[in-house]
């Protein structure tokens, strides 16, 4: 598709929120960009990497978010404007460094973009990252659409340099993964005089802590002062509204829509805040004074609501009593993402207006005609996915072992191993690398009566990100578990970004390859390598490792992602079902091949009552030939 530098300044381009953030950084004279992939943030670094050669700037996929922030901070220390991007979970990984960087301060503009995922559309949580701004005492900007995403990111670099500290930009899925027309500005060349030159003792440390902390407060006050006149905060509506909506980010879109749909333009005003921490107190008070009823619209937690109430508490004598509506009052949900209908519902119930979204007759007819026809489309492993094959062997090895062993899971495509296409094998899933960390603990419970074998899985990218310290911990503390590295040579879930094991850089250039096998062996770990498509060998190796029962063992289950193979290779096999041999429903297997194995390429034919191959979907991996007890699935070398 069209790159973020394809159009001239002054033109309008349809840009995804994340592309707009990247474009804003280029217009600010960005020199350095780093990130670890994670939805909904991945396209920020992705689109910068795409133009990095042309713009002669540096872009990298870092091994994790903490290193990404550290690397970007180094660029800032050397006088180069830098951006670092991550999803909400990533901010937690980076926060150890962030909580020292805030006291240290920065030199050239440093912008940290965090993309939250309300409703956890592609995440394990729906963490609201904004309290991190308050916690770390760093200024926070919240764009509402692509145009603002570009403009705010550009401005964030200036703000960062004004106050000599990191500036946070917080986006959400409905901004990052929405597209909108953006009026483009001129890209700017970065400074090419990078030099690290400390002028005072301890300048690049948080020491002496209380003094640096007092400096941090001065910076916050300066940011607040700047925010008082920021063009990213504005009011629309009547002079004295019956109700004032205070909103930010995605909430602003829904508020506008709701006010318009209910025809409340003459009675409801909207204060749209782009700078949400520290609050521009004078500006906010001036607008709160317009009315005595306030509705706060924001995603996900009542962060803005809490800060507004704090301010009202401090200024009660001048503002007088106000009634607040929002998440605390129960007018808006405290979990899940917002949408225009939810905001219309809140407005309607506060002001006693009823809005009929869908005519009841139509709604009834729609329910009657479509309700029973429309089923959930569950997501699962793709046809030919190596994870399905590995987890099949895991299931069988655990059964053969018979001691009640189990698998702790991790973050990636294979998280779907919790569900039917992974045969429900994963029993825990938390954070990046946590499967191995949990395994360390389970593997040390033998003194306390524990005797189950412990398996844990992680992907290749997750291995580099956070599993290595847990693995070393397991070796050092002589824990007892088997780590299965699901090496599919890709960060598949987030869009195939390269990582240290792939031999390619963010720009697609050759890079040194870090070999997980050699790394594990260097720790003195017993390592086996298996091809997951060889079910018998994989199952046997797993059994051997499980029954070795001493220390940490590693199985590398190595096979490229099916989506990558489809682009690079011809199918290995032509697969078909021999309908003479397939006994259909009368076979004792109870449709093992389709009902249990659940590959989208192997389907049940309702007419012939046998299994059949869907040739459009089948990738020719041939694994299903090994699971049919009647040997009715035939695999021929293609």
């Amino acid at each position: 598709m069209t790159s973020i530098t394809a159009y001239e300044a002054g033109a309008s381009q349809l840009l995804m929120g994340n592309e707009a953030i990247a474009r804003g950084a280029l217009e600010a004279g960005l020199g350095f960009a780093s990130a670890y992939p994670g939805n909904p943030s991945s396209e920020i670094l992705g689109s910068l990497a795409e133009v990095a050669r042309e713009m002669d700037i540096y872009a990298e996929w870092s091994v994790n978010e903490k290193v990404a922030l550290e690397a970007a901070a180094a660029a800032s220390f050397a006088g180069v404007r830098a951006i670092v991007a991550m999803k909400q979970n990533g901010l937690n990984v980076a926060s150890d460094f962030l909580m020292n960087l805030n006291l240290t301060g920065t030199v050239a503009g440093l912008v940290l973009v965090v993309c939250d995922d309300p409703s956890g559309l592609s995440s394990t949580n729906e963490q609201d990252s904004r309290p991190a701004a308050k916690w770390a005492e760093l200024p926070l900007l919240e764009p509402a659409n692509s145009q603002e995403a570009k403009d705010m990111t550009k401005w964030a670099f200036e703000l960062s340099e004004e106050i000599k500290n990191v500036c946070l930009v917080r986006s959400v899925t409905r901004v990052s993964h929405a597209r909108g027309d953006v009026r483009l500005g001129e890209p700017m060349a970065p400074s090419r005089e990078a030099r690290f030159a400390p002028t005072t003792l301890g300048q690049f440390t948080p020491l002496l802590v209380p003094i640096k902390h007092s400096f941090l407060h001065q910076k916050v006050n300066k940011a607040r002062e700047i925010f008082e006149s920021s063009p990213f905060n504005w009011y629309t509506g009547p002079e004295k509204p019956e109700l004032l909506i205070v909103t930010c980010g995605s909430g602003w879109n829904y508020s506008l829509e709701a006010v318009k749909a209910l025809g409340l333009e003459s009675s409801v005003g909207i204060l749209k805040l782009g700078t949400t921490w520290p609050l521009p107190e004078k500006l906010v008070q001036q607008h709160l004074a317009r009315t005595d009823k306030v509705l706060v619209v924001e995603e996900v937690n009542p962060f803005l609501e809490g800060n507004l109430k704090e301010l009202v508490g401090d200024t009660f004598a001048t503002l007088g009593p106000l009634t607040f509506y929002g998440k605390r009052s129960g007018h808006l949900p405290t979990f899940g993402e917002l949408d225009p209908d939810r905001v219309m519902g809140a407005l309607g119930s506060i002001l006693g207006r009823e809005r009929v979204a869908v005519e009841p007759d139509y709604a009834k007819k729609a329910q009657a005609l479509t309700g029973s026809l429309v089923q959930a489309r569950m997501i699962g492993f793709c046809a030919g996915c190596p994870h399905r094959a590995t987890l099949w062997s895991v299931k069988n090895a655990l059964k053969l072992d018979g001691r009640g062993g189990f698998v702790t899971g991790d973050i990636g495509c294979y998280t779907m191993g919790l569900g039917p296409t992974g045969f429900f094998q994963l029993k825990t899933v938390q954070a990046m690398g946590s499967g191995a960390g949990l395994a360390c603990g389970f593997g040390k419970l033998d003194k306390l009566g524990f005797d189950q074998p412990v398996l844990t899985v992680c992907g290749d990218s997750t291995f580099f990100h956070a599993a290595i310290p847990a693995l070393i911990n397991g070796v050092y503390n002589q824990s007892n578990f088997t780590l299965i590295i699901l090496d599919n040579s890709a960060t598949a879930m987030t869009g195939f970004q390269p990582h240290p094991g792939t031999g390619a850089s963010a720009l697609g250039e050759p890079a040194p390859t870090v070999d997980p096998e050699g790394l594990c062996r260097s720790l003195g770990i017993r390592v086996e390598v298996a091809d997951p498509f060889d079910l018998q060998d994989t199952t046997q190796k797993l059994l051997d490792l499980m029954q070795d029962d001493s220390g940490v063992r590693v199985l590398i289950s190595r096979r490229k992602c099916a989506l990558v193979r489809a682009k690079e290779e011809k199918p290995a096999y032509k697969v078909r079902v021999d309908t003479e041999k397939c006994r259909g429903e009368s076979c004792g297997c109870a449709r093992l091949c389709t009902r249990i194995f659940q590959c989208p390429g192997l389907v049940w034919d309702d007419e012939t009552h046998t299994a059949k191959i869907d040739e459009v979907i089948c990738t020719g991996c041939g694994v299903c030939a090994d699971i049919c007890p009647a040997s009715a699935i035939i695999r021929e070398v293609a």
Binding site: T2, N145, S250, P340, A363, T370, Q375, T421, T594, P600
Partner: protein
């Protein structure tokens, strides 16, 4: 229909059908003609057989939010029939115009024999009763005839443009294809678009 402001269009289908791409192409073409366009997309499940939906808000006046309120779709472009019904149930109204592909993509539960897919009669009945007008196009067959099932999405855009429900002319979309696609893929996509145009015009 096409003068309504904002015009609310939903493109729906299954991950892997190229739903996001056509929303983006139509959106870019409309921005080129001076419209404000916002597109809200459901990502994440897009490569793994999940339902995928894009909301397009098209306006001469302002940028709208990325989510269309319930019951407020003006146009639905469906790449998969049951996904079209899913969207109709939530966002439909008596005035909605629908153009949908007739070829099913079976959910995994149907493929592996633990659920059933609705019959063509059931689908057609629901489409007719829940829309002002609905067209069913066998876009996948046309695409296969051109050599690649993936082209069904572009065939469907052709049909949608021919239905004259968007402020988007055929030559404007063709210009977008020329600007956005590498030359080796352009010819086939232009063919697919024109086949879709012709298919609906012939109705």
């Amino acid at each position: 229909m096409k003068d309504k402001d904002p015009l609310n269009v939903i493109v729906t289908g299954v991950g892997g059908q190229g739903n996001v791409l056509i929303s983006q192409l139509m959106g870019s073409a409309l921005v080129r003609s001076g419209y404000h366009v916002t597109i809200g997309e459901t990502y994440g499940a897009s490569q793994r057989g999940g339902a995928v939906m894009s909301h397009l808000r098209i306006s001469r006046q302002a940028q709208y939010g990325p989510l269309i309120p319930h019951g407020q779709a003006d146009v639905i472009l469906g790449l998969e029939p049951v996904e079209t019904l899913r969207v109709l149930g939530q966002y439909g109204n008596p005035g909605v115009m629908v153009v949908t592909n007739s070829r099913p993509v079976y959910p995994l539960a149907v493929a592996v024999g633990i659920a059933h897919y609705p019959s063509v009669e059931e689908i057609v009945k629901a489409l007719e009763e829940l829309s002002r007008k609905a067209w069913m196009i066998n876009a996948t067959d046309i695409a296969l005839d051109l050599g690649a099932s993936i082209l069904a999405n572009i065939v469907m855009v052709g049909a949608l443009v021919a239905a004259d429900v968007l402020p988007l002319a055929a030559q404007e979309f063709e210009l977008e294809l020329q600007e956005s696609l590498p030359t080796d893929r352009l010819d086939l996509n232009l063919k697919a678009f024109r086949r879709g145009l012709a298919e609906l015009k012939a109705r």
